[in-house]
């Protein structure tokens, strides 16, 4: 409990307090939204074994749902929850069709990719007068600007922006991380990992893997929708590029580079690569997608398990070198670690 709940909360809060003195909170907020998106894919891919090539679709849906609802309602907190619920409902229906239809992994990846491309194309071609939901025009390529952003519930004139938006977003990231950690320690989460390891055996144990996958997919979409909502509040505009192939591909790269099969890895991957992209965006000598591609290739070749598992390995090696209280070099620690299923314990 301490390791899974208190430790992440303490580390997260320390980071939340330190980071604004290192980086500007404007950049930190968008990195937090990216980290939330990466966490959503890290959960469904790393733990439930569902490779979704279209996680950006739920990110975009969350952002658009927030913007459209905020324009129609004129208040931010109802839309905040709508931004989580709409992608979740969409994923539950779409996921049920895919998983109850017994679509195999490769086809699932292709179908989810196509889903995000359809949304991208549709949003791009929604510039006309007829494309509006209530008072909100979809705006085509230009997207939707000028919607109400988050403010204090007890004082609507006090908007959450800059540092306060970062603190809010980062607190949500800590909350979602801890909830996922708890979920993964509970039977439901452990069954998801078992299903990832061997679907046939999970079925022969009596688990309905179609239902389990649909639930995991829905949870992932809700988190991606929350990320989209945070992004919309940061950018104060939503555009079809949220649904782009580039956004989906980047999310997968964040997870791979950070470390699939962990929760911390995708967050780290999104933060590191997102920040690198920001730095590269400030120069015009070299195309930043090229650099990201090289980073991905190097990461796959040199750190096939990702940055975070590599850091954990180094940390464990350092601890092993420390003399244990019993006088040895702590080899018992090494044995214990070998006995643990890493998917549950390396965070």
């Amino acid at each position: 409990m301490v390791r899974d709940v208190l430790l992440p909360i303490i580390i997260g809060m320390v980071l939340m307090l330190i980071l604004p003195s290192v980086l500007d909170s404007y950049t930190l907020t968008v990195l937090t939204a990216y980290a939330m998106l990466a966490l959503s894919l890290g959960f469904i891919w790393g733990y439930a074994g569902i490779l979704c090539f279209g996680q950006a679709a739920f990110f975009g849906l969350g952002a658009y749902a927030y913007a459209i609802a905020a324009i129609n309602f004129g208040t931010p907190w109802g839309p905040f929850f709508i931004a989580i619920i709409i992608p979740a409902i969409f994923a539950a229906v779409f996921g049920a069709v895919l998983f109850y239809g017994r679509l195999s992994d490769v086809y699932l990846a292709v179908v989810t990719l196509v889903m995000t491309l359809i949304l991208f194309k549709f949003m791009n071609s929604s510039a006309g007068e007829i494309y509006k939901i209530g008072k909100a025009r979809l705006g085509g390529y230009n997207g939707i600007p000028g919607f109400e952003t988050l403010s204090l519930p007890w004082d609507p004139s006090e908007y959450l922006y800059d540092e306060s938006l970062f603190y809010f977003a980062f607190s949500l990231l800590i909350l979602v991380y801890v909830l996922l950690r708890i979920c993964l320690q509970r039977p439901m989460g452990r069954i998801l990992v078992g299903m990832r390891e061997n679907e046939q055996r999970a079925e022969l144990m009596g688990y309905d893997i179609r239902l389990l996958k649909t639930i995991a997919f829905t949870i992932g979409a809700a988190i991606a929708g929350l990320a989209g909502c945070l992004y919309a509040n940061w950018a104060e505009i939503v555009t079809p590029s949220l649904f782009s192939l580039g956004q989906s591909a980047e999310t997968i790269i964040w997870v791979i580079v950070g470390g699939a099969g962990t929760l911390t890895g995708p967050i780290l991957g999104a933060a590191v690569l997102g920040f690198t992209k920001f730095l590269l965006g400030q120069q015009s000598v070299i195309d930043n997608t090229l650099v990201l591609g090289v980073i991905l290739i190097l990461a796959v070749l040199l750190l096939p398990r990702g940055i975070f598992p590599f850091l954990v390995q180094i940390w464990q090696a350092l601890i092993r070198r420390l003399p244990s209280p019993g006088g040895g070099r702590g080899r018992h620690n090494q044995n214990n670690r070998k006995q643990q299923p890493d998917s549950y314990h390396n965070g």
Partner: protein, 239 residues
């Protein structure tokens, strides 16, 4: 005696295109019976096994398990009836520990505390307690077979389907497997698909012989072993 029938297959057919893997198979299993299915390669044993387990949907005919018509059911629905299935190639969750594998099977329908108790008991029964924390992917084939048997038992089934449980085991491991199967049979019925005739002779009372998708003979083990038609089938002679 009809009330003691736990599983029935009537006129069961399974066709793959023009190939009749099962052709009008009739089969009955009674409470706590131990039945071995034997036959040469391609006889239809594994297809029959997969139809019972819900891994294949029969082309025609019916399967009744404790009176329920289970044609077209998914494997998880069959498993929830209280049927444990061990596949030909050990189907285990590789990167998880032995204990975790058993626990996932035990926790369905039970509290976590009950699952812990079931796992402790099954690990002793199958003699894998010392492997508890080891990752299954690091185990040798024989141990993986035992782990899979443990997974099946952790679901506390009343009927167990075992597909070639002795395949690839050492003589010592086969002895252990036989002890475990006999112990299981005190509480549960078993259908065992097996090639190893020595193994079959040591455990079976009733044997069903498959050949070319049909039941060739269904009788006690001595009669089956002395049957000329069975010998011809195994030696590859025409009947």
């Amino acid at each position: 005696m009809a009330s003691l029938v736990e599983l029935e297959a009537n006129q069961l057919c399974m066709h793959f295109g023009g190939v009749r893997a099962l052709d009008n198979v009739n089969f009955t299993l009674r409470r706590q019976e131990l039945r071995c299915l034997i036959g040469p390669n391609g006889a239809g044993k594994s297809t029959f096994f997969k139809c019972l387990a819900g891994m294949l949907n029969p082309t025609s005919g019916e399967i009744r398990i404790r009176g329920q018509h289970t044609n077209g059911w998914h494997p998880h629905q069959i498993a929830r009836l209280g049927i444990g299935i061990k596949t030909q190639v050990p189907s285990v969750m590789n990167s998880l520990s032995v204990r975790e594998n058993l626990w996932l099977a035990a926790v369905r329908g039970n509290s976590t505390k009950q699952a812990d108790n079931i796992v402790a008991q099954i690990m002793d029964q199958v003699s894998i307690a010392e492997l508890s924390s080891q990752s299954v992917e690091t185990l040798a084939h024989g141990k993986r077979q035992l782990v899979e048997l443990g997974i099946v038992l952790a679901g506390q089934p009343w009927l167990i389907l075992l597909d070639e449980p002795a395949a690839g085991l050492t003589a010592e491991e086969v002895d252990r497997m036989i002890d475990v199967i006999r112990e299981i049979n005190r509480h549960a019925a078993l259908i065992i698909v097996e090639h190893d005739m020595h193994f079959v002779r040591r455990i079976a009372e009733q044997v069903t012989v498959f050949n070319q998708g049909q039941v060739l003979i269904d009788s006690n083990v001595d009669e089956v072993m002395n049957n000329q038609a069975v010998r011809d089938v195994y030696l590859g002679k025409s009947l």
